[in-house]
């Protein structure tokens, strides 16, 4: 139990330190490193300690804590009111006022009598989440040490608020640990709101018009989610007098359906599913570490975390079906929209929503196989996607653009970084790396329960391949002749993080049988009593293919790079109009250099075309979901 509390409190302590210590101080870096080591070590310790045990629940004297939390909540509410007033935005004020009113009344009327048996708990799922938060989170913090100074070098107009930044990041980590370890729903709700405000503030870090706009959009939507969450909690307590996650899912279906739907709704908002996807794409104005940490690997995962947690309560209801369809719609439509995007971060954002959609759909299905693949998706996605975000962050500064079309010949200009990026991309879509294994199982789960979803998956995967392949093709195309290698001053902090994540990507891909049998299977046994048995032969084949690739790639590159001299280099075929290898004589005797740009098919897959479709469908599905819950 102490470890859990430590994980929640320790980042707070670091956050406080970050606020206090002066910027640019060597001590800050030391603290950062120590925090990183500790935050990575403790979840690993947790993993080892609880490897063989089921879920463990802890009782924490809660009344005082509740009061403190309430106080903090009120402070936060006041803070939101303050910043909203300052920017003359009133919707957040309304939302936060209603929400606080509900919670304060609730706490004051029912809080005293509330009997919470276990406030904290830990099980395998929490540990997986804790590992992601701890290792990826702290790695990204280290990345930030190198990144933020450079960020300010490039954006001189932005006020240097490094301390504020670190404070928020560590505060956020603390809240994330809180979310995954809380059994007390009041606590869960409290941490939930903290992540909301952290996210909104970090999105607004640049403090210009666009980022404030995005920041408030994120705030509005997440506050709405929080509000529904709060209503769900109040309803839950009034109808059944419980306030604990483990009890919630064991309750009678009729009693918990509405609260569970409310919580799932909050989860949908947080994981930016349709119709709430726009806040996540807007959030891409935030500095890259924020996108990597909050908007791809951790916070949005909190959304699917909560959905997966309450999924048992929805089992076999129409609401679960709706959840599944919302996930499916988000998966398909964002994957299609990603085709039309050339902004690298936006592509990543859409791909994130798309993958989260798949996880939500799995949660909606809620069979052992579906949850198995959902958990694997969470792991693979967290590692690979944060790696890609961080790579894009660096590329952005080296090339002064985050547009994919400017990444021509990246492999020649930033070879090492591109190699790392390729690992991330391979992890995202290339069979037999990470994602595809889970998709494999997802497909089987879909076919067994709802073949309709298999169709969505079939179309969605095809779209996914499109945008990844063309991006990958772009960065790995090689130009004839020499090209200037971009000055490679990536700080060692950034490199360290990239290396860690790249190694983790490969590691989780290779070790997924271990992860599955060691962590996920026990969890599934507790929850479903059975474990999906992935075909051993398939696992072995994919494993061998992966190992084969890992051996083949370096060997092949070595062979073609150094050993094989048995070739003649000729110019690119340019219809005979070559001047030299990459230029040709164009019309009017001009000298044209070949330049290749990808297809975006804006006319067919454009946001303007598809976004509304997604919103309308998902709104309808949401209505049905709530309608069912009310009835």
């Amino acid at each position: 139990m102490n470890a859990l509390i430590f994980l929640i409190i320790f980042p707070l302590f670091i956050a406080a330190l970050a606020l206090v210590l002066p910027a640019g101080n060597a001590l800050r870096k030391t603290v950062g490193v120590i925090a990183g080591v500790v935050l990575s070590a403790v979840p690993i310790y947790l993993l080892i300690a609880y490897l063989d045990t089921g879920p463990v629940y802890f009782r924490v004297g809660s009344h005082l804590v509740n009061m403190v939390m309430l106080a903090v909540e009120v402070v936060i509410a006041a803070f939101i009111v303050y910043i909203s007033l300052r920017s003359k935005r009133y919707l957040p004020i309304v939302l936060v006022a209603v929400q606080s009113l509900i919670m304060v009344t609730f706490e004051l009327t029912a809080g005293g009598t509330m009997e919470i048996e276990h406030s904290l708990f830990v099980d395998k799922f929490s540990i997986i989440m804790a590992l992601i938060i701890g290792i990826i989170g702290s790695a990204i913090c280290l990345y930030g040490i190198g990144y933020i100074p450079e960020y300010h070098q490039h954006h001189k107009e932005i006020k240097e608020r490094r301390r504020y930044f670190s404070f928020l990041i560590y505060l956020f980590l603390s809240a994330m640990f809180g979310i995954v370890f809380s059994n007390n729903l009041m606590w869960l709700y409290f941490f939930w709101e903290i992540t909301t405000i952290c996210s909104a503030l970090l999105i607004g870090y640049r403090n210009d018009k666009q980022s404030i706009e995005s920041s408030f959009r994120a705030l509005n939507m997440n506050l709405l989610g929080g509000l529904v969450f709060a209503i769900g909690l109040v309803y839950l307590y009034n109808s059944s007098h419980i306030m604990e996650l483990d009890k919630l899912i064991k309750l009678d279906r009729n009693l918990v359906l509405l609260p569970a739907v409310c919580m799932a709704f909050a989860g949908l908002v947080k994981s930016a599913q349709f119709p709430f996807s726009s806040w996540l794409t807007g959030a891409m104005v935030a500095p890259t570490p924020v996108s990597a940490l909050l908007h791809s690997s951790t916070m949005v995962k909190a959304g699917v975390y909560i959905i997966l947690r309450v999924a048992p309560a929805l089992e076999n209801t129409v609401a679960a079906k709706m959840l599944m369809f919302i996930g499916g719609v988000s998966f398909l439509i964002t994957a299609l929209m990603a085709i039309s995007q050339s902004n690298a971060k936006k592509v990543l954002a859409y791909s994130t929503i798309s993958n989260l959609g798949l996880i939500v759909a799995c949660a909606g299905i809620n069979t052992a196989a579906a949850v198995w693949s959902a958990l694997l998706l969470i792991v693979f996605h967290a590692v690979a996607k944060s790696l890609l975000f961080l790579c894009v962050g660096i590329v952005e500064y080296k090339l002064d653009s985050r547009d994919i079309e400017d990444m021509d010949y990246l492999i020649m200009r930033l070879p090492k970084l591109t190699a790392v990026m390729m690992i991330g991309m391979a992890g995202m879509f290339l069979a037999p790396f990470g994602m595809i294994i889970s998709k494999f199982v997802t497909l089987k789960a879909f076919v067994d329960t709802n073949p309709g979803m298999a169709i969505v998956l079939a179309y969605g995967s095809a779209a996914t391949v499109f945008f990844w392949v063309k991006w990958m093709g772009k960065i790995m195309s090689i130009r004839h002749g020499e090209i200037e290698v971009v000055a490679h001053r990536v700080s060692r902090w950034e490199w360290f993080t990239l290396d860690v994540l790249a190694v983790s990507t490969v590691f989780v891909c290779l070790a997924f049988p271990l992860i599955s049998s060691g962590v996920i299977d026990p969890y599934l046994t507790e929850r479903f009593g059975n474990v999906p048995v992935p075909d051993f032969f398939n696992v072995m084949v994919t494993f061998f293919i992966m190992v084969g690739l890992l051996v083949l790639l370096p060997l092949g590159l070595f062979y073609f790079g150094f050993a094989n001299k048995n070739y003649r280099r000729v110019a690119t075929y340019l219809g005979g109009a070559n001047i030299d290898n990459v230029t040709f004589e164009g019309a009017m005797a001009s000298v044209q250099t070949i330049e290749m740009k990808n297809y975006y098919l804006q006319k067919y897959f454009g946001e303007d075309r598809l976004f509304n479709v997604g919103v309308i469908i998902s709104l309808a599905l949401l209505c049905v979901m709530f309608g069912v819950a009310f009835i």
């Binding site: 050339s342 098919l601 804006q602």
Partner: protein, 359 residues
């Protein structure tokens, strides 16, 4: 958001039999700009008048272009004859008409094949080329050449076709017509061809006129413009009817050419029926003194042979303005906004003849 790519289309490109270059500026697969560049086949044959006298020059006119070689020599001869006031024997005029119409048939069939190849219909290409051989056989039998006929001369033609042979030609053309009907049915009715041609490379009637389109290109846009109506050679004795379509797209150009093939076959038949007996050439004395713009209708449209002489055996100036040259502005316009898959279609429905264009 898509960005622009520049693609070098040619000079050597498999869909283009002849070298012409385009800088295609593309967004996704849409061509936003196309800038042509020529001079890969420029020889400068117009200045050969300095080295060949006006009678010998027919052989060079014959070789301006392989596909409409007869038309060029005919146009050139006609210009000289106009200047010198030569009354060409009527039989020669009829024979010229027959060869000219046969040229049109083989050129159009070749075009059908090339177009089919451009939109990826290989069997149609092969079948078209197979049928074209029937016309080439007629050429070979009547002139000895397959593509360069060398049969026209100032003052008439070099060879006669006797009446039996003429009958044979008409019969062979009737057989060709039967075969062609099958192929043209595919061109007209096939779904995939319509998909590739309908609505592609649209040129409105007004644009076609303003941009100086000639030949099938103009007629497909609804302009009634056929130089055969001027009544040169024996056309004044035949029922010439310009084939006009109104759609203005590649499909319409295709239809115009298909209808023209049948019309030409019919014209040959008419000519073979009406051809008078008599001499087929004339001894020419003297040299041209004056100038004339000889306008005739090539398979690709109106061609102008301008000849200027000052009474010496060597001409002062010879100039050809070929239909392709005149159609290029319209082609550029049609290319903009099309897809790259349409580019070969648009270029080919112009039926470009680059060697004519650049001379």
């Amino acid at each position: 958001m898509a960005r622009k790519t520049i693609i070098p289309f040619g000079p050597q490109h498999p869909v283009l039999p002849e070298p012409i270059h385009f800088d295609l500026v593309m967004e996704d697969e849409t061509v936003v700009d196309a800038i042509p560049s020529i001079s890969y086949v420029h020889r400068g044959l117009e200045r050969l008048i300095e080295k060949r006298d006006f009678v010998d020059f027919v052989h060079i006119a014959d070789r301006i272009c392989g596909l409409c070689s007869f038309m060029h020599s005919m146009g050139y001869c006609q210009a000289i004859e106009e200047i010198m006031g030569i009354e060409v024997p009527e039989r020669a005029l009829y024979l010229r008409t027959i060869w000219a119409e046969l040229s049109r048939v083989h050129s159009h069939i070749f075009w059908l094949g090339a177009a089919a190849d451009a939109f990826g219909f290989e069997s149609l290409f092969m079948q078209s080329m197979r049928l074209r051989e029937m016309v080439l056989d007629i050429f070979e039998a009547t002139t000895g050449g397959r593509v360069i006929l060398g049969v026209c001369k100032v003052g008439g033609v070099r060879r006669d076709i006797d009446s039996d042979a003429l009958k044979g030609i008409v019969n062979r053309l009737a057989a060709l017509k039967v075969n062609l009907e099958e192929i043209s049915a595919v061109f007209i009715n096939d779904y995939s061809i319509q998909h590739r041609l309908i609505g592609v490379g649209y040129i409105s009637k007004e644009d076609a006129y303003a941009l100086g389109c000639v030949g099938p290109m103009a007629r497909a846009s609804g302009l009634v413009m056929d130089m055969r109506s001027l009544g040169y050679a024996a056309y004044k004795y035949l029922d010439v009817e310009p084939m006009v379509e109104s759609a203005g797209d590649c499909y319409a150009r295709c239809l115009v050419r298909i209808r023209e093939i049948f019309h030409s076959i019919d014209l040959v038949r008419q000519a073979a029926e009406k051809i008078p007996e008599g001499p087929f050439d004339l001894k020419v004395k003297g040299a041209p003194d004056g100038e004339y713009f000889s306008r005739i209708e090539q398979p690709r449209g109106e061609v102008i042979h301008y000849v200027k002489g000052n009474g010496s055996r060597f001409l002062q100036r010879f100039r050809v303005r070929v239909p392709t040259f005149s159609n290029i502005p319209a082609m550029i316009k049609a290319l903009k906004g099309s897809g790259i898959a349409d580019v070969p279609n648009i270029i080919l429905t112009l039926d470009p003849c680059i060697s004519c264009t650049e001379r």
